[in-house]
């Protein structure tokens, strides 16, 4: 039997799903099970897993609900990349598979494993609570429902995209800081925090920000862009992170926070090694905050080719570091000039 055949379409492909298995009741460590099934065009990874569960092995466990890419239940890693199983086409994955004919399916990272492809979402919810990911309305409760706030389309557009987030935790799974520090706020929570903070109905912006600038907060992010690249709703998460940082600097002053110190440490690392000593990024002296705002995103994009941050002793200077340093200094100079002329 095939996963829903369709005669008038071109054939089927034999696909082996290499599925991560772990049942805490009996297994001391995880392993992989192979299931080979014929799959035709147009079939998603979730449909294939459903097929495996129904026809081959009913104990394969994963979450799924809407099956339409809207509920965020089915986040998992497919060939190493976190995504929604229900919107991921098997043939598309296959075309890029390193091992021909094999698709590896694993649980999301950075959240505690429960069983097979199921991870615990509670830590993420806990962070949403910790960082007050809600609107604390300026409208007193007793007055609610009487009249609308008047909100411009322009304001709506500021948070429109951020409210697309379905809390699938793909970005959480891909985040490089979370791998080293599980207490880190998490990209989705930064995104939600930002969404709240640009909403004129909210009254607790400052309190939320005060929490965000502490340890494990917004300044810990390395700008590696992995969250944004993996976001299943193509949300520009980095805009939110930049937005929060700008807010923090603006409202709390340049030298007040660990953030600005952190930012400079960033720059030093990049200049010296051409990449960041992410795991132990030290906090150094004050300065050059504007450079971060203007330059860092671009610089990081250029350098962060490798995806996983290695521990410090392994961090070698990237190839072409000399050229890079020259470029980097030129860029810094350029931005400085720009900044000055802007101020005049």
């Amino acid at each position: 039997m095939t996963v829903s055949t369709d005669q008038h379409k071109e054939g089927k492909k034999e696909v082996t799903f290499r599925v991560f298995r772990f049942n805490p009741q009996v297994d001391s460590k995880p392993y992989f099970d192979d299931y080979t099934i014929p799959v035709e065009r147009g079939v998603t990874v979730l449909r294939s897993l459903n097929y495996i569960k129904e026809h081959i092995d009913g104990s394969v466990s994963f979450r799924a609900f809407c099956q339409a890419g809207i509920c965020g239940s089915c986040g998992m890693r497919v060939n190493g990349l976190s995504q929604l199983a229900c919107t991921t086409q098997v043939w598309d994955v296959l075309a890029k598979s390193r091992e021909p004919g094999i698709i590896k399916v694993e649980p999301l990272r950075n959240l505690p494993l429960i069983k097979d492809l199921i991870v615990d979402m509670d830590p993420l919810v806990g962070k949403m609570v910790h960082y007050s990911n809600w609107i604390d309305s300026t409208m007193p409760e007793a007055q609610m429902g009487k009249k609308e706030f008047l909100i411009s389309e322009e304001e709506f557009l500021r948070y429109d995209k951020a409210t697309d987030c379905i809390l699938c935790a793909s970005c959480v799974s891909e985040c490089s800081i979370l791998r080293a520090n599980k207490e880190y706020v998490s990209p989705a929570v930064l995104l939600k925090s930002y969404r709240m903070s640009v909403d004129s109905r909210d009254s607790m912006h400052e309190t939320r920000l005060a929490e965000l600038v502490k340890d494990h907060g917004v300044w810990d992010c390395t700008h590696c862009y992995r969250c944004q690249e993996s976001c299943v709703k193509s949300i520009p998460i980095m805009d939110a992170i930049h937005g929060l940082r700008e807010d923090a600097i603006e409202s709390r002053g340049k030298n007040d926070t660990s953030g600005s110190k952190h930012a400079e440490a960033f720059m030093t690392d990049i200049e010296k090694k051409g990449k960041l000593v992410e795991a132990t990024l030290p906090i150094r002296t004050n300065g050059v905050v504007w450079t971060v705002q203007n330059l860092l995103p671009m610089a990081m994009k250029m350098i962060m080719k490798r995806r996983t941050p290695p521990p410090p002793p392994l961090v070698k200077s990237v190839k072409g570091i000399k050229i890079f340093r020259t470029m980097f200094r030129e860029m810094t100079e350029h931005v400085k000039q720009d900044h000055k002329s802007h101020k005049k």
Partner: protein
């Protein structure tokens, strides 16, 4: 566990609103929300279109009264008019309330909440946030509940009410993470578990978990279900999955074609063509298929929704979601080829019988949202009225339960009862000898419902449906659960959901067989007209000694007399 004042089953729009309102009404109460999925995953998130409220932002002359009339007419006069009054009068307030709490509504030029036209409404009164209205409403409610510190039991699967005499002692549920069966003794229970349209399985636009658990729980506890035969079909579901292709595709000029390449709607609605009312278009598609003008495929017969003539630019700019869906779920790019579609079960009008305060016949048990039936939708729900329903009656449920909790003493659930529940769900996991497969039973249920209790109904078809369901129930006794683990046994959960669907399917088929008329979504080939003399009434299905027993309940009338429903 310490007894709760209120246990709310369901973390969708209805359940979350109930929780919020209950906390507001009496902050001292001990309230818990149970949900089999994280609340933000609930099916409320799938609603794209919007929620109706006569705010008058778009059409200045819109009124609550017009909204009331549209709803009653849309219901084919089966809605209770006093309940509709509540629904529509509360609408503007509740939409503003959500707005005040942070729901990101799309905006008009004058910065008020945007509204758009929707089927069956005389004025553009559907409030929306792009095409993610339900999602953003659910987010707001979840955020506000977290803010208020609502206690959530996420990934708990409700099994049954614990019943003592005329009232309930609380709820029994399985913790998915441990497989343990746990007691939730409570003064009051609010059932808000959503709809049951998933029983049509891959002929349904619903999430996998919309299996009517709350209705089945109430039914097993002896609480009557109302108007179960009314299931709304949407004309354009994707062939393989039943997922919805929204009306937007036809609104932008898409054609419906049969296998002869004919725009067949010219035969059924020569003027409105593809844009006729939902039930009419659904019936037209079904007729084409029944008369052999559909395409064939192993996934079933289907028709074409053709957008190719609209051109790549328009499709990309105006219908990107639909294109993505067609590519993701059918492997078809609508720019190049037509989308395979067929009607799909979309919404359940029927549900747990309640009064206007969401009370059921059992003391201390309330129901709200798609799970309940007040009734405000009657025989046919209008688009945009369901989100409204879950908000308005979710809130009423929360308030009523909070006010009445004090009247009741907390129930007690014995260890023996828990053990019996555990044995019931886990004991028969590996039947000896020949066993039945979950997937097959579920597939067959969906198939017989679609064929025999689907869009067109008829005496002999319904009899076939009823006997098929009975046979499936028999076979279900031998179903095998192939995962023996206690931790997150999703296979066990699927089987429990199937049991609920089987119980409810029986009530849907029985109601459809009894109702010898055509009204709203219920179309009997053998009784093609509305019969107000004999059937202007609700049906009630109650479980008596293991069998469906049908009763009836009068429709509450008001300012609007019965009229023929023409558009």
């Amino acid at each position: 566990m310490k007894p709760f004042d209120i246990v709310i089953v369901g973390g969708g729009g209805a359940g979350l609103y109930a929780a919020m309102e209950a906390m507001k009404t009496n902050p001292a109460l001990n309230i818990a929300v149970l949900s089999k999925v994280y609340p933000n995953r609930s099916h409320t998130s799938a609603a794209q279109g919007g929620a109706n409220a006569a705010l008058g932002n778009k059409a200045k002359d819109d009124t609550v009264e017009m909204h009331i009339f549209d709803t009653i007419k849309g219901s084919d006069y089966l809605a209770d008019q006093d309940a509709v009054d509540v629904l529509c009068s509360e609408a503007p307030k509740i939409i503003r309330e959500l707005e005040n709490m942070g729901t990101p509504w799309s905006r008009m030029e004058d910065n008020t909440i945007a509204q758009r036209p929707f089927g069956g409404a005389g004025r553009p009164r559907c409030c929306y946030c792009s095409d993610k209205t339900g999602h953003t409403i659910l987010q707001t409610l979840y955020e506000q509940c977290l803010k208020k510190g609502v206690i959530f039991f996420n990934e708990y699967f409700a099994l049954n009410l614990s019943v003592g005499g005329s009232r309930s002692n609380g709820l029994i549920a399985m913790n998915m993470k441990t497989g343990k069966v746990e007691a939730f003794p409570a003064k009051t229970v609010i059932l808000a578990t959503g709809g049951y349209a998933k029983m049509y399985w891959n002929r349904s636009s619903n999430a996998a978990g919309n299996t009517g658990d709350g209705q089945a729980i109430a039914y097993r506890a002896g609480i009557p279900l109302k108007d179960m035969e009314f299931v709304q079909f949407h004309p354009t579901g994707l062939r393989k999955s039943g997922l919805l292709v929204t009306e937007g595709a036809r609104g932008e000029g898409g054609y419906l074609l049969n296998k002869d390449g004919e725009r067949f709607m010219s035969r059924y609605a020569p003027e409105k063509m593809e844009l006729g009312p939902r039930d009419l278009v659904s019936r037209s598609l079904e007729t084409e298929i029944l008369q052999g003008r559909g395409f064939d495929s192993p996934a079933g017969k289907y028709l074409h929704l053709d957008l190719t003539h609209l051109g790549a630019d328009l499709i990309k700019s105006r219908l990107p979601q639909i294109r993505e869906m067609a590519m993701n779920f059918e492997g078809v790019d609508p720019i190049e080829e037509p989308i395979p579609v067929r009607p799909t079960a979309h919404y359940s009008m029927g549900g747990i019988d309640t009064d206007n305060q969401t009370r059921t016949v059992m003391e201390g048990v309330y129901a709200a949202g798609e799970c309940g039936c007040v009734s405000v939708h009657g025989a046919n729900r209008l688009g945009g009225n369901s989100l409204l329903d879950i908000l308005v009656f979710g809130r009423i449920a929360g308030r009523t339960a909070a006010e009445e909790a004090g009247k009741f003493t907390p129930g007690r659930i014995s260890e023996a009862e828990l053990a019996a529940q555990f044995e019931e769900i886990r004991g028969g996991m590996h039947p000896s000898g020949r066993y039945e497969r979950y997937g097959e039973l579920r597939e067959e249920l969906g198939q017989t419902l679609a064929l025999n209790v689907g869009i067109f109904r008829e005496s002999s078809l319904l009899q076939k449906g009823i006997s098929d369901i009975a046979e499936l129930k028999e076979r279900f006794k031998k179903v095998r659960i192939s995962d023996s683990s206690d931790v997150f046994n999703t296979n066990l959960m699927q089987v429990l959901e199937l049991k609920n669907m089987l119980d409810l399917a029986e009530t849907v088929a029985a109601g459809a067989y009894a109702r010898q008329e055509s009204r709203g979504s219920h179309t009997r080939i053998d009784f093609p007209v509305r019969d107000d003399a004999n059937w202007h009434k609700h049906t009630l299905a109650t479980l008596v000694k293991g069998n469906v027993t049908l009763g009836e309940k009068p429709v509450t009338m008001g300012r609007y007399e019965l009229q023929e429903r023409t558009y």
